[in-house]
Amino acid sequence: MRARGGKGASMSGRQVSLGIERGLFASWRGRRLKENLLGYLYILPATIVLTAFHFLPVGYAFYISLHKWKVKKVAFLGLANYSQALADSRFWKSLVVTVYYVIGTVPFTITLSLIIAYLLFQKIKGLSIYRTIYFLPYITSTVASAAVWLWIFNPRHGPLNQLLELVGLSPQRWLNEPRGIIKVVGGALGFTVPQWAEGPSLALVGIMVFAIWRYVGYDVVIFLAGLGNIPYQLYEAAKIDGAGRWQLFRRITLPLLSPTIFFLVVMSVIWSFRAFADIYIMTAASGQQLGGPLYTTTTATIYIFDQFYGRLNIGYASSMAFILFWITLVLTIIQNRFGERFVFYT
């Protein structure tokens, strides 16, 4: 691999040397050439891996998405996979579930972690202990922590239902419950909730709780770093001017932290749109088919994975992966446009 790549690098090195201005003395040119070659040699290993497993696959994936592709290529379809996806009601439903998941996790995780980070920043005793504990769920693997949460949500003997029974409420089916959360709560209070308003299924809400629990610590660490970057003199000056605690938070902390908040919002939205392993393990392992009760936890990534790995509709899965990518890309661009208005850069 090295030898082949080395040849490629020397070729581009030769091209480069042609571009170098003539008329300079030879030793300088020689050293220049050597540095060029060395540069290419040093980036070569990383370039090979990134090209083989990151760049080329994008083109390859697009090629696959234009075909009917089972285990092997079957037939050229053009954009038929894409039009099929846009007409696929289950794909649309999976996008709705994804949006529920994003809306149910991102704002909660960020608000919660902002509050925790702000409290931790008040010259707390034992800051590092608290931080260690909050960060622990993020460190542990998805599978192990999902196993624990599956047991917490267990409908028969799980601690959550034991707790509900203890306070006199009826036990729930949690991850096996396809009914929407609003319907479940409304039903318990005696309301009838129309189907369009039932919200994400209780199963999906359980998965969201799991995700929030897992990622709060990560956001807390980022927020703590952001808070540490705010110059202390600003608070001192504001205090002298008689600002109260709320004003300090509202007028100094929030604006100066807005780049951090913005970064976390944008990245979390992308990550939540692509969330897979957490949802996959929480649904596939709760003793039912992939996608949870009545597909109410089938997010777009789960649906794509099922088409790819479960049904071997590889071309179709590829086309949906591209559609999902475009959706997240457009969303990110929109967020950047809106973000400019709210983010305050010093």
């Binding site: 060395l38 980036i43 760049f55 696959p57 196993a147 990560y218 980022i222 692509r274 590829s318 990518f325």
Partner: protein, 297 residues
């Protein structure tokens, strides 16, 4: 102002301070609760599970004081031994250590070289190539997963270690982080090294690397952690139990019907333990690494 008045004046502050700790501790307990529940469950007996005993006998001192012949430690770790023997966990661990270790070392080698080139060498098209590298971070895994799986199949790499290592031994984040670090090393050092007859490679290995230990540890740790916790890719490319890394192995253990919950919790605890130990030892690197880069595993 009397002492009493002074106390009263400080009271609101005291209360809000106390409230602060109450809220933070409640949050911390919520973070820890699943782990506590996991540990508690993992030392329960089958009968205690069925009868919903909250505090298991294995954690009661009286259990050990009245029955000296019962080998209490075996009693405490009964589920752990059962779980360990129910699936080839030793093999899973060995696989994970090998895969994560190779990945971390591979990333360190490729990233160090590339980062050095980007930070300290001048070559044609350097900035363009760097931007293209950064652009790979935008490519989502759902898109590359499918063609990469086909590539791996064509290479006949399915169910091999290299399938789980090679695609991940280059990290743009690693290159980025190390480049930032290498760029801060003063040029004078290099000039002095050149006077001593030192080339770029010797300068890199003997001056730059020792100076960059914190950054190298961060990059190594995060890639080790990422590889150790990786799930989707190993799930796709492994076929046989003997090749499973711990995450995939545990997943099949979880979905297998008939596994008792207390054994499952013991297995989860076994899986979590090495990482928790690593985390406690290298906490500073984890926290600093994340704070400076905003990197997600």
């Amino acid at each position: 102002m009397t002492a009493r008045e002074r106390l009263m004046a400080r009271l609101p502050r005291r209360i809000s301070r106390g409230l602060l700790y109450v809220v933070l501790t409640a949050g911390a307990v919520t973070s820890l609760a699943p782990f506590i529940w996991m540990t508690l469950t993992s030392v329960k007996s089958y009968r205690e599970m069925a009868t919903r005993v909250l505090w298991p006998a294995s954690l009661r001192l009286s259990t050990y004081s009245i029955a000296p012949g019962q080998r209490p430690i075996a009693h405490l770790f009964y589920n752990y031994v059962q779980a360990w023997n129910a699936a080839p966990f030793a093999r899973y661990f060995a696989n994970s250590f090998f895969i994560a270790g190779c990945t971390a070392v591979g990333v360190l080698i490729t990233s160090t070289l590339a980062a050095y080139a980007f930070a300290r060498l001048n070559f044609y098209g350097k900035n363009v190539i760097f931007v293209v590298f950064l652009a790979t971070m935008m490519i989502p895994f759902e898109i590359t997963m499918i063609p990469n799986f086909i590539t791996i199949s064509n290479l006949k790499w399915v169910n091999t270690y290299q399938a789980m290592i090679i695609p991940w031994i280059a990290s743009v984040f690693g290159i980025f982080l190390l480049r930032q670090f290498f760029a801060t090393i003063p040029q004078d050092l290099y000039d002095a090294a050149v006077l001593d007859g030192c080339g770029h490679f010797r300068f890199l290995t003997q001056v730059v690397l020792p100076l960059s230990r914190p950054a190298l540890i961060s990059v190594g740790l995060f890639n080790f952690l990422g590889s150790w916790n990786a799930f989707t890719w190993p799930l796709i490319v492994t076929r046989e139990e003997k090749m499973y890394p711990i995450q995939v192995g545990l997943r099949y253990f979880v979905t297998e019907s008939g596994t008792d919950t207390q054994e499952l919790m013991a297995a989860a605890a076994i899986t979590i333990l090495p990482l928790v130990i690593l985390y406690f030892f290298a906490q500073k690197q984890f926290i600093e690494g994340i704070s400076t880069t905003g990197l997600k595993g």
